[in-house]
């Protein structure tokens, strides 16, 4: 695939006219997707897709187009010509773009992880064997993925890896279940069996008669998986420099009024330890680390090239959407093994679900508890909790009400497969909060 991409870029190099420049971005994968339900296969299949985004620039005029490709240059050449000609014919009718910023400094790079994956069928066999006697539902996604950047200045960047992501739930009954993810680059049967056994052991807890609690404020422990949904809401324009400048960011009161979170909160975009490519789709290189929140204070933001040009500041290699791909929240002092004891009496939240803003100005969020969420008394799990809706502000949850973050952190690999398999991840601790407001 890398050779194909380099040949493709070399072909584009020969097709430019006058002062034209181009950038292009390749996003490709060959994925096995095997869907499970009731410990059987629901839909197994394979998707091989190659997408190319091509950006033609002539002075301050420019336009973009994207296409799917066969992956064979002989077949694809006419389509590439067609794309290029289409862009070229479009440019004269477009005005000059005052916010265009392109990367002219050549910074080529290469990251290739050789595949260490077994045949997908072998993973399926292991999953189905383990699932016998249980009600398992979920998805296995596995295979190589490729990202490439090239431009007419000669920059070439390549990112290649092969990964798997087995994301499954074991159901006790109705909506009571334990959700687990086993993901990485090298399949470990022992690790999988251990995770599966841990999940199966939790099912016993879910057999107990569920408890319903009244709306109100409760002490709560959020596992890293649950916290990831809350932290993920920062990517709804919270960290975007454009959104901060236009007063639409949910963190705007931190920028404008100096509001702070708890000093224990230190958050960064940690590209160096993440799984995403270290270059973005316009060829800007991402720094290893971007400080976003330092000891509770807003310290940075995600700045795309376009926003940088618009506001006369420097870009930090953010994508056009100005969201983070590799969020990293520093751990605290609370040993994970003591989470239940420190929670004492309250709600242990295994997962959250379907978060949205109820008052964006005040970063007030609503969402649901889901999967393994329990009522805890005196440090012991009493029973599963029927789903509850919370509605509370991040400024309270991770501000005055934050009692501690766990020392241990988990790497949570994004299971998102919208359009393509995600390369996003988060590294997060668990969080103990003095109170979380439940409303329904």
């Amino acid at each position: 695939m890398q050779n194909y991409f380099h040949d493709l870029a070399a072909f584009l190099d020969t097709r430019l006219k006058g002062k034209e420049q181009y950038t292009c971005w390749l996003s490709a994968e060959a994925s096995d997707f095997v869907r499970f339900n009731r410990s059987a296969i629901r839909q197994p299949g394979h998707v091989r897709q190659i997408y190319l985004s091509l950006h033609l620039i002539d002075g301050m005029r420019h336009a973009k187009t994207s296409t799917s490709l066969a992956g064979n240059l002989e077949s694809d050449r006419p389509l590439l010509e067609y794309m290029l000609n289409g862009l070229r014919s479009r440019l004269p009718e477009l005005p000059e773009d005052p916010h265009l910023l392109i990367s002219t400094e050549v910074q080529s790079s290469e990251h290739i992880s050789a595949s260490q994956l077994p045949e997908t069928g072998a993973i399926v066999d292991e999953a189905l064997t383990a699932a016998q006697g249980h009600d398992m539902v979920g998805i296995l996604a596995a295979g190589p993925l490729w990202r490439g950047f090239a431009n007419s200045f000669g920059q070439r960047n390549w990112h290649q890896s092969a990964s798997f992501n087995l994301d499954w739930s074991l159901y006790q009954s109705r909506d009571k279940a334990v959700k687990t993810t086993h993901a990485g680059f090298e399949w470990s049967s022992a690790e999988f069996r251990e995770k599966f056994a841990n999940a199966a052991a939790q099912l016993a807890m879910l057999q107990r008669t569920p408890i319903s609690i009244r709306p109100g404020a409760y002490r709560a422990y959020l596992t890293p998986a649950a916290l990831s949904d809350i932290i993920g809401m920062l990517n709804w324009d919270g960290l975007s420099e454009k959104a901060l400048r236009t007063r639409q960011s949910s963190l705007r009161r931190m920028r404008d009024e100096g509001w702070q979170l708890n000093p224990a909160v230190t958050l960064a975009e940690n590209t160096a330890d993440g799984l995403a490519p270290a270059f973005q789709n316009e060829g800007f290189i991402k720094p290893e680390r971007i400080a976003l929140i330092e000891q509770g204070c807003l310290a940075g933001s995600m700045i795309s090239p376009r926003t940088a040009k618009e506001y006369g500041i420097a870009t930090n290699g953010a994508d056009g959407g100005e969201s983070a791909n590799s969020l990293d929240l520093a751990g605290g002092a609370l040993p994970q093994s003591r989470a239940l004891q420190e929670l004492d009496t309250g709600v242990f939240i295994g997962n959250l679900w379907y978060l949205n803003f109820s008052d964006r100005s005040n970063f007030r969020l609503t969402g649901m508890t889901r999967f393994a969420t329990f009522w805890v008394e005196n440090g012991e799990i009493k029973a599963p909790l029927n789903v509850m809706r919370f509605d509370d502000s991040l400024y309270r949850m991770l501000g005055e009400n934050l009692l501690g973050l766990t020392r241990e952190r988990e790497l949570l690999i994004d299971t998102d497969t919208y359009g393509a398999r995600s390369t996003g991840s988060m590294r997060l601790p668990g969080a103990l909060v003095k109170e979380l407001r439940f409303v329904l």
């Binding site: 994925s31 869907r35 339900n37 009731r38 059987a40 296969i41 629901r42 839909q43 197994p44 299949g45 394979h46 998707v47 091989r48 897709q49 997408y51 950006h55 420019h62 336009a63 973009k64 187009t65 994207s66 296409t67 799917s68 066969a70 992956g71 064979n72 077949s75 289409g86 479009r90 009718e93 477009l94 005005p95 916010h99 265009l100 539902v137 979920g138 998805i139 739930s169 159901y171 109705r174 909506d175 279940a177 007063r247 639409q248 705007r252 404008d256 009024e257 679900w353 379907y354 949205n356 803003f357 109820s358 008052d359 100005s361 609503t366 789903v387 809706r389 502000s393 919208y418 329904l440």
Partner: protein
């Protein structure tokens, strides 16, 4: 392209119980003007094919953006291999499922005025509406956009089925954001997720009220800044179509999807409070509630002739006079559940397999005029245009927020209120339906962004609805 695909499939189709090829070619272009600056013009062509094989009880698919002979050969081999690997280990014995052998042609409606896409004219229009937004320094951001999609799909079966469907979609968008101090308010045309998306050409801009919308939404964003927060309490709630579309989508559409009821989505999108035994006798809502799956309304976003398993699409009541009659389930789910459904087995593109999706899911108009509904309210709030949505994985406990609200007191519309939200439980919410608006309150909405499935898919859906009045709803505002 269709003819060459037909020829290749005829040559390559394997000797199996069932095999289909679904070819999708989609061309799109998006124009956006933000703060009077044209954003990078983007366009695209997405084409590829999916092969589906059912053989000796197994099922497999393979999709590729390589639609050459070699690419399709490889896809067929992979689909066959997965069908073999899943034989005897599938959630259903696929040999018991007979998919249709359809034949025909479907096309989106032609534009009545014959106007063609003119990039220059559209950029001028977007600039005009963008400039119209800049009415006050407190308007801090705004943008206007139009997105067109032309999608052609070919569905072939090994036993001679052949469907061609050609769709044209137009998706307008317009929003303005105003700020003062800590308060920021955004107002939009049909929501910030393109609620006025429809099939057709540039006439959709007229239908959506796009011309002149810039100044209106900017003024309403300013009005919201000056408004008090929505009050809290239990009161009547009058929902306009720009919010009803979301209410229908989340608390009727998703709970009635048969694959959710069968458990396929439990690891991701969730399950449903609806169970198979409820169909035919469960009172989902008040007698006034009539809900149809309607793929026949030409301009609506998710109208089509056949679904992606080749089942013919026909208008069907799902809820009639409040009674739950039928789920949203395609041929495979119907066979698994042993009950009738509708033709809604759909894939978002060539690279994802069909699953049960909403298509056009509509509430049928009632008989109440808007002024009559307002007059009947002693204390309540009118809410319009969704901005926030959250619901539990069984599609029961929900909380939704709107961009815009107005108080209703003693039968009269009063002042604007900001940050209007409400919450409820699907299983009881629809029973609190007090009045259903007539045709004059009816609007055809939709969204390009309904997410579901493993692997995940974002698909187009349509929701048409009149204004509806609900009683004793838990309403509240911001902090």
């Amino acid at each position: 392209m269709f003819d060459s695909i037909r020829t290749l499939f005829k040559d390559l189709a394997p000797a199996v119980d069932f095999c289909s090829l679904r070819f999708v070619e989609e061309a799109s272009e998006q124009l956006t003007v933000r703060q009077n600056v044209l954003q990078p013009v983007s366009s695209g062509i997405d084409r590829g094919a999916m092969i589906t094989v059912m053989h000796r009880g197994g099922y497999g698919y393979a999709a590729s953006s390589d639609v050459t002979r070699a690419g399709l050969q490889d896809a067929i081999a992979r689909a066959q291999a997965w069908a073999e690997a899943s034989r005897g280990r599938s959630v259903v014995d696929y040999s018991a499922i007979a998919l249709p052998r359809p034949s025909g042609l479907f096309e989106s409606p032609a534009s009545p005025n014959g106007k063609e896409w003119s990039r220059k004219d559209l950029i001028d229009l977007l600039m005009q509406e963008s400039h119209a937004c800049a009415i006050d320094p407190r308007v801090v951001d705004w943008q206007a956009s139009v997105w067109s999609v032309a999608s052609s799909q070919l569905y072939l079966t090994v036993d001679g089925g052949d469907i061609a469907q050609h769709f044209r979609y137009l998706i307008p968008g317009l929003a303005a954001t105003a700020n003062q101090g800590a308060d920021t308010q955004t107002r939009s045309l049909g929501g910030q997720y393109n609620g006025y998306c429809r099939q057709g050409g540039l006439e959709v801009l007229e239908q959506a009220g796009f011309h002149g919308a810039g100044r209106r939404v900017a003024q309403e964003a300013l009005d919201l800044l000056a408004a008090p927060n929505c009050p809290s309490g239990s009161m009547d709630l009058l929902l306009m179509p720009e919010q009803m579309m979301l209410q229908i989508h989340e608390s009727i559409g998703h709970p009635l999807e048969l694959d959710r009821i069968l458990g396929d989505e439990r690891n991701f999108a969730g399950t449903s409070f609806v169970t198979l035994d409820m169909f035919g006798h469960y009172q989902y809502g008040a007698n006034l509630l009539n809900v149809t799956y309607d793929p026949t309304r030409p301009e609506q976003f998710a109208s089509y002739g056949w679904d992606d398993d080749g089942s013919p699409a026909e208008r069907t009541f799902l809820i009639r006079n409040g009674l739950l009659e039928r789920p949203l389930g395609g041929a495979v789910s119907q066979a698994r559940a042993g009950m009738a459904g509708v033709a809604n087995s759909r894939a978002c593109s060539w690279n994802r397999p069909p699953i049960d999706r909403m298509a056009n899911l509509n509430i049928e108009p009632g008989s109440s005029r808007l002024d009559e509904m307002i007059r009947s309210v002693e204390r309540g709030v009118l809410m319009d245009t969704n901005v926030s949505w959250s619901i539990d994985d069984s599609r029961n406990k929900f909380q939704f927020g709107c961009e815009f609200g107005r108080l209703i007191e003693d039968g009269e519309l009063k002042g604007i209120v900001k940050n209007p939200n409400y919450r409820g439980i699907s299983a009881t919410f629809w029973r609190s339906l007090k009045a259903v608006g007539d045709q004059s309150t009816f609007n055809v909405m939709g969204t390009p962004f309904c997410g579901k499935g493993e692997p995940s898919q974002v698909i187009r859906v349509g929701h048409a609805s009149p204004a509806c009045l609900f009683g004793n709803i838990d309403v509240f505002g911001g902090e």
